[in-house]
Amino acid sequence: MFRSEYKVEGGKMIKVQLNKDDGRICAIKITGDFFMHPEELIEDLERSLIGCPLNETIIIETIRNFIEERGITLLGVTPEDFARCIIKAGEGIG
């Protein structure tokens, strides 16, 4: 498991745990003190990232699409923040 933490400007914290295989996400858990509505879609969001290459642009796009399709509201974090934390975890730091 690779882990990372990312503190968003304004104070919210994102923590990511992931496993990777050949440069792609094969397991991921996103935790933290942010707000996302409806809350129960977090697991679907995580599932949507499985198989995604560890590429910041693609991850941002994937999250943006998911949010738009499912009518999700984020508060205190952006898709870019999630992506940055995921990439940091993928690099095997922290």
Partner: protein, 256 residues
Amino acid sequence: MVERWRLLDTGLNDAFYNMALDEAIVIARSKGIVPNTLRFFRWDPSSVSIGYFQSMEEEVDIEACNRLGIDYVRRRTGGGAVYHDRDGELTYSLIINEDHRLISRDFQKTYETLCLGLVKGLRLLGVPAEFKPINDIVVNGKKISGNAQTRGMNIVHQHGTILRNVDPALMFTVLRVPSEKIRDKMIKSVGERVTSIEKYLGRDVSFEELKSALIMGFEESFDIELSSGEITDFEKQAALKLKREKYSTKEWNFRR
């Protein structure tokens, strides 16, 4: 005609019942069984609540909690981990129909509108509180209240904490810090980041005095009248079931 809301003061209860009752009130409100509601409550034993998206193991020192007899529970709302001291902290909940004039589709706007009730109440006590986006209330830049909101079943549910007094050392015994090395630093810095009503005013403030001020603040700010009420049998039964089947279970509390 002045708009009447229900005021509940459910006193001291355990963490699992407290969170279950909040959800039970949301369900009752969505069924139209009860009016819009302001609830005050406290936690016995003292407890930690974590946000919906947080990991219990990452945020809470389970061993320390078990040793100290402190309960831990996951909330249905996002946001951060909170230590709810039995004697130092007051919690409130607002359960409001989503089509109410106070509710905006914009979460940030709604946080501000609802928090202004608390801000007004705190100012009535002589505490110059201000709303600080996203979800905090601060005094001279120091946090005195944290709030969290969710929606569902056409109901807005916001709950939050108001610090009457605070013990930073205990707070960081139960909440995990990145390392032991920085625990002392964090305990010290919490004094610079967090304050409480008693600390600011330099005098004792009873829960009764605090609640009275907050009631007036909400009434004035929301242009409503709060009438003391009781929880219905429906809410009581639903709360007991939710406590048993959700909030007291490992599946819920350790799901992330």
